[in-house]
Subunit: 361 residues, 2 copies
Amino acid sequence: MAANKDNFCVIMGGGVGSRFWPFSRKTLPKQFLDFFGTGRSLLQQTYDRFKKVIPEENILIVTNDLYADLVKEQLPELASEQILLEPTRRNTAPCIAWASYHIRALNPNANIVVAPSDHLILKEDEFLTAIRKGLEFVAQSEKLLTLGIKPNRPETGYGYIQIDEPVGDNFYKVKTFTEKPELELAKVFVESGEFYWNSGLFMWNVNTIIKAGEQLLPEVAAKFEPGVGIYGTPEEKRYIDEHFPACPNVSIDFGIMEKADNVYVSLGDFGWSDLGTWSSLYDLSDKDEDGNVILKCQSLLYNCRNNIVTLPNNKLAVIDGLEGYLVAESDNVLLICKKDEEHSIRRYVNDTQIKLGEDYI
Amino acid sequence: MAANKDNFCVIMGGGVGSRFWPFSRKTLPKQFLDFFGTGRSLLQQTYDRFKKVIPEENILIVTNDLYADLVKEQLPELASEQILLEPTRRNTAPCIAWASYHIRALNPNANIVVAPSDHLILKEDEFLTAIRKGLEFVAQSEKLLTLGIKPNRPETGYGYIQIDEPVGDNFYKVKTFTEKPELELAKVFVESGEFYWNSGLFMWNVNTIIKAGEQLLPEVAAKFEPGVGIYGTPEEKRYIDEHFPACPNVSIDFGIMEKADNVYVSLGDFGWSDLGTWSSLYDLSDKDEDGNVILKCQSLLYNCRNNIVTLPNNKLAVIDGLEGYLVAESDNVLLICKKDEEHSIRRYVNDTQIKLGEDYI
């Protein structure tokens, strides 16, 4: 099946997370890492996945100036016009706004799938089918579509989408969005069958999203509207460098999805994880008979249970008598902490930066 | 005070210990390491110490062929004749026998101090005074002298020397040697005031030790006697390479000291440690207010007590929630185990060698 030339993909790859420090670093954020030693980073896996349903030349990466070289290195097949470089970080709404104006200049009928660069998808066929159907859905009407994931546990780290009545084969109107609930509420959500995880993956026609932005986020749209005529030309980067930093920092969820009245969701179970925490990585990974996860390195474990250990390739971890710990080393930092203390990682990173400086961040 | 030209020093630096693995490696044993980040390895510290009382040209290092380059690199001031290279490891008796025949060829009146290369001495002045007095003592009579250390705890990892009647200012005849006692016995030893730790450091006149060897270890002496006339000549190394490997593997303690009837001990408290275990290193090192010892690396510790942590220079250890652990990393190996499980290190090393090979040893 030939890919529809009207279909575009925007991969958002500008994030700097600290939750996987020291495995991820400011100079090498999570999307550029190969967590499972498969030979492809999360960004590369995302690209590989989408090029099966989107024409390769229609796949764009939006990232930060800082990561331009990393993106080119990891995806050398990209033409330079396929990499949109933000001069500063302004969250997802400005990122998506720019990409939308840029794409409309290339193809005023474009249907777009917007995706994070650092998520894991284990069931690729189901996922790609949902993308194909979703793009057809948004091509036919002025709808904003998000992908909802059937929850398998009362996860408190995710946002939830409550569905309303169905509007077609596996498409539902969205009733509400709820950010990270408390555990008790999350349990009620999961049991109700009405709530799905918000994957942060969206589809829409380019005109639908630009119109929604004009109505719901005029202060963002106002930064991009004056550039019409410049997008897709050699002057675009200069325009963006000048106007992008003035955008407010706002997410697409808060700025548009939670406010628009034409928001729909397509449901599925794609073996999806946002790989947001070491625990989520632990849950997804193969374990030895004692519940230990070893990523990338060699290991000899004695009296060890339920740990997650990752050292640089081929390094050897000899560990005796640890239970429930994270042991992660990368470059010049070794982190050892309880696996369920991982919310403290931000504190470790802050303390490190204050006491020891940028070299360890 | 000019150093006595009859005084010689033999530093034994051929050992391959695994007790500090992975900090020490087969290619870089303990004596070549700078445990405390002082800028000088234990071997270098030993050399620096003895050159204050022994003419520099009379200091010899006996080591293994394997470590010739390391010794030359760490002690570039040594002439090549000062490095005796064993073709194979045969414990301390053959090592000392060779050094003795070699030195007698250079100076038939030599008084010799024989010392390990990998011990720590914190009270250098007291130590050097004991060496000076000891060398005078053995110069005047046919006595074998060992240095005894006043014990400060019932250590079960050391050998003990029981003293008999005094024979001069701080010199005692030795009654018995006892290898590593059980804890209860060690406690009795320490309380008795009659037992001292065996430092493994000896002094004697060259003729006294050669005569003792002829009488008590004739199977060793027989390998060296035929070489008389060759020691100190360019032919010596060839002779040793041929005959040394045929020596039995026997320690000077077992082969001579425990059997001779002219063995004496000089007592002292030199801030001595054989640095035989991580625990001994822990005991000797500066601790933070929570009892943690950090060697060489940077650290941020949370909820940590009584650990010993060493990573390569300037590497950062961020550790939350460990108590009583050893965390040691060197090159391609990270070891994490309970500090009091360090007797298991030999097992870790063996398992590593079997399962992963020489690269990690």
